[in-house]
């Protein structure tokens, strides 16, 4: 799976990264487009202040899914429930020892659902979450 480097996506989208490129260019002897004629101006950076990002370690992985319980969680977008039902059918057909449990997450797609999280921790071994529509 193609992944961007950590710096390219930690809030540092192409627009943000570009600032670093300019900074590097300005530190060098050759400013960008140095062949262009004309007086130089200094413009200010219009960007706001991003929050610090707390890096979260991923949950430990399972050695095998045999005999494990996987929660299939929908974020509530249309079609996710039907899609996850097909995932459930797929496991039943290809990996029948895996138990799957479907749940609809409370709140908006990005909202936390502490009650469901607690249930998963108590009863599940892994989660597959479906996002999109």
């Amino acid at each position: 799976m193609k992944r961007r480097s950590i710096l390219s996506i930690l809030g540092a989208t192409p627009a943000l990264l570009a600032g670093s490129r300019l900074e590097a260019a300005q530190k060098s002897k050759h400013t960008m487009h140095s062949s262009d004629a004309g007086d130089k101006l200094t413009g200010l950076n219009p960007r706001g202040i991003p929050p610090a990002i707390k890096l979260l370690p991923m949950a430990p992985r399972l050695k095998t899914l045999d005999g494990k319980t996987i929660y299939l969680i929908s974020d509530g977008f249309p079609g996710a429930d039907h899609f996850l039902n097909q995932v459930k059918i797929w496991f039943a057909k290809h990996m029948p020892s895996v138990k799957t449990i479907y749940r609809l997450k409370a709140g908006g797609f990005a909202a936390d659902d502490p009650k469901l999280n607690a249930e998963v921790k108590a009863n599940g071994n892994a989660v597959i979450m479906a996002i999109g529509h």
Binding site: G11, H33, K40, P57, I89, A110
Partner: protein, 352 residues
């Protein structure tokens, strides 16, 4: 598992929440409206990113041992680049544009001098924190911003210092004009109070068109700050509107024609004093024009009410509807018995 349409959004969002290498597998898009057989075929097919069988990828994501990077902890603050950029005017235009800081129209280069002049339009300190903005509440962690950073965007938009308090108020609302949704939404700001005259805003002919510096640049500044102050407006990442909307260039800035309206001004309806300056925000799909009061009066049009209701219902079921009436139309409606705005609203929402 994420549908491929949300690839960039999912990865940038996971990163901004501290899990840059979150294990995400992709299905074709959409799942909505597909049959069970079609969705099952997705599962038996390939992940459109890796081009490997999807479900084995899912199982691998759950069982593949974590790398050291997967386990990392700590904190980092993303860079937003240097505080200043120096080059020729033409090169700076290109630089600001190429790096996602504009609306792809030429800007006024925000030099220190121009920003200082803009800051004279407010009594607030340049380094005062104004508030927070996010491209979509809940989906993206909000960014903070100062009065100075709002002023930089105001200069870029071509605004004058007189307009700055209004722009600052829009920024302080915490509402992005480029809200990220697969719907291509637009935002409107209704302006009430004496500020409309002070800024020489256009609330006459062509009020919502490109015919007034105040209307145009205040709206444009709202759009630019919605990009720059919160990393918004990046298609596929922080902007998902499938078709986009031309109104996003300058947004809908609507100074109410209080002087000519037969009805109570909006801000007075909401409990403010007439002499207070108030901005009211709205959002929706866009503008739909319709025939005015003529259909009700001089020559009644068959099924006119049904048609007007149909104009509103598709929007109103989700957002409500903002009705903007020319004062002539509004006066005609009063003559026809719609003495208050509420009377017209009731007509547009007949009991079912």
């Amino acid at each position: 598992m994420v549908t491929i349409a949300f690839h960039d959004l999912a990865e940038s969002n996971a990163a901004s929440r501290g899990v840059p290498d979150l294990r995400i597998c992709y299905t074709p898009h959409p799942v909505w409206g597909k049959t069970d057989a079609q969705m099952y075929a997705y599962l038996e097919g390939d992940d459109p990113v890796t081009h490997k069988p999807l479900m084995p990828e899912v199982i691998s994501a759950l069982t593949r041992p974590l790398s050291a990077k997967d386990k990392q902890t700590g904190e980092m603050t993303p860079s937003t680049g240097p505080k200043t950029f120096t080059d020729t005017a033409d090169n700076l235009q290109k630089y600001y544009m190429d790096n996602g800081m504009t609306d792809f129209m030429p800007i006024v280069i925000p030099t220190e001098e121009k920003v200082a002049a803009m800051l004279k339009g407010t009594s607030h300190s340049p380094d005062e924190m104004v508030g927070e903005l996010t491209p979509a509440r809940g989906a993206f962690p909000p960014w903070k911003f100062t009065v100075r950073q709002v002023a930089i965007n105001a200069v870029m938009a071509g605004a004058t210092p007189d307009y700055f308090p209004t722009i600052l108020a829009l920024a302080a609302s915490g509402q992005s004009a480029l809200f990220s949704s697969t719907n291509s939404l637009v935002y409107a700001a209704v302006i009430n109070g004496p500020i409309r005259n002070k800024l020489n805003m256009n609330f006459g002919i062509g009020a919502m068109g490109p015919f007034s510096q105040a209307n145009a640049t205040i709206g444009r500044a709202w759009g630019l700050l919605s990009k720059n102050l919160c990393n918004g407006g990046l298609p596929g990442q922080t902007y998902e509107g499938s078709q986009g909307n031309v109104i996003n260039y300058s947004n809908l800035i609507i100074p109410e024609n209080e002087e000519a309206s037969p009805w109570e001004p909006l801000h007075v309806q909401k409990g403010f004093k007439k002499e207070e300056n108030v901005i009211s925000l709205f959002f929706g799909f866009g503008i739909q024009q319709a025939q005015g009061g003529w259909g009700l009066g001089v020559k009644p049009v068959p099924h006119y009410q049904e048609a007007m209701v149909c104009n509103c219902v598709p929007f109103a079921t989700i957002f409500g509807a903002l009705i903007v009436a020319d004062p002539l139309v509004a006066s005609g409606l009063v003559d026809l018995g719609y003495k208050k705005k509420e009377d017209l609203a009731a007509w547009l929402q007949p009991p079912r």
